[in-house]
Amino acid sequence: MSVQTWTFILVGISFAIYIAIAIWSRAGSTKEFYVAGGGVSPLANGMATAADWMSAASFISMAGLISFMGYDGAVYLMGWTGGYVLLALLLAPYLRKFGKFTVPDFIGERYYSQTARIVAVVCALFVSFTYIAGQMRGVGIVFSRFLEVDIKLGVVIGMAIVFIYAVLGGMKGITYTQVAQYCVLIFAFLTPAIFISLQMTGNPIPQLGFGGSLSDGTYLLDKLDGLNAQLGFAQYTNGSKPIIDIFCITAALMVGTAGLPHVIVRFFTVPRVRDARISAGWALLFIALLYTTAPAVAAFARTNMIQSVAGVNYDKLPSWVKNWADTGLIKMEDKNGDGAVQYVADSKANEFVPDKDIMVLANPEIARLPNWVVALVAAGGLAAALSTAAGLLLVISSAISHDLLKNAIKPDISERGELIAARIAAGAAVVLAGLLGIYPPGFVAEVVAFAFGLAASSFFPAIILGVFDKRTNMKGAVSGMIAGIAFTAGYIIYFKFVNPGANVPGNWLLGISPEGIGTVGMLLNMAVTAGISRMTQAPPERIRQLVEDIRIPRGAGGAQAH
């Protein structure tokens, strides 16, 4: 069977499963819609969190990025996993004990202030929309490459699927489809990785094959260091970014991860505080399966790619190169007219420009794996994109129906009314996200730094200090959030939009790139919050009581019932 037939079959089966789950798990109350009734088992929540978290970017782009960055790719690997330690130790148990439905709920209540709540809602909406545009685009790209449908049609099909289970099922539907999506995406990621590891190093476990040796007896990584050096690239296992930038980007991604509302809200869905703790552990374990495999895939793919193209005559290139050149993801030009591919670091002489995404998408073809494995990658990419999109949609809809409508504009709205509003908001958000996917603003990649920077410099300090420092008051927290956001946003906007020409290391503050500046924004937020809190009146007694209550697990059942 052809790749396309296989893709139709596998994608069709996976979509049928998602819709079946959606129908089985319809939400009947706002509590089911926002937090799946608070009755999800920790293991299932761990899987759902992993699928929620791992987006089209993790699945399709990350391994490719790492294969071009070498050691420096560690910023993504550590940055997007280390945040779960912070989540598990510093946020998840306390937010679960607090109960309620959303992150702005916590901020609004702990800082007894509508201003704080509104600042949090605006941040949550901004971060989520930034993210979701990229997901819908990812859906469209997978459809167009593997099924040869138009990108726009691909986005519309993706929208329709998400619409069904997000609008009908809310968090309940989303949670159980995410469990299925995790299984699809991890199987799709690991299968080719295992095959390739076995082919290249004789070890079926990619994490070990990564440090194993090739058939000629040299270690894979030594071979790759040598190949990179020959072609004029930096050694694969040594970085080229300055240490301070690596440090700050990693920290901004970690802290940003722990501050992303669609991740935090998953810990509201388990029954008890102890379940929130352990489900963060399961989530990271499931994420680590992909995140420790990705750097191995990156090294395998780069070695394979260099060996099969560098110095090879254009008319003797393997068929996958031609296939992907047709889609525009590989660009080739015989600049010096010698008939052979000259792949080198110097961009003036280089004749071969692969897109980072093909490292995962074309990997099975490069390794000559059977067609069903190639099709599996398409189903996995779709699962990754759809699951993340759904989680974000829920944050957007609850921010509108719960935080704005119920808590700020119309407190006397009925349960039924709020549920209808939540569904309408989810539906509208799907359509808007789809439009962003069909007509992508040119700056999607740029704004991802934004999403993490903002989450790091706003939510994370406000929540941490809210739990660990009783003295933190409304004035401190609001000024801290505003200072953190203004600084981080200002820095990113200046270098990415106002004056992109100046975006070079020489102009950066202390050599920290816009991707890493969220770390400084977070520290600034903490300093301002702590300082102003201590200069102004202590928070009221009932807030101190609330904090003491959050700190002990017992009684979470009570908190859950309101």
Partner: protein, 85 residues
């Protein structure tokens, strides 16, 4: 629960957090970033050690840290009788 008991519970919790977060920092920012170059002179099979911590080891340690935290806290909750029924 009495005020002093709550304070004692919280203090022990903070001590666990401090130790676990020190390890978290040491494997990622320490071994994986600040001292990666120095550690790269040590080999772990086909890996240079600093590179291994940055792209593999730190992630394994993160997973272990959370499960250790869960185990410690479940014990602590029982000790102070604040666990959930």
């Amino acid at each position: 629960m009495s005020k002093t008991k709550l304070q004692a519970y919280w203090k022990e919790n903070l001590r666990y957090l401090l130790i676990l977060l020190l390890i978290w920092f040491a494997v990622s920012y320490g071994a994986g970033i600040l001292f990666a170059d120095a550690l790269n002179s040590v080999r772990l099979g086909g890996f240079k050690l600093g590179f291994w911590f940055a792209q593999q080891g730190s992630i394994y340690v993160f997973v272990i840290l959370i499960f250790v935290y869960v185990w410690l806290m479940n014990k602590l909750d029982e000790k102070y009788d604040v666990h959930e029924k």
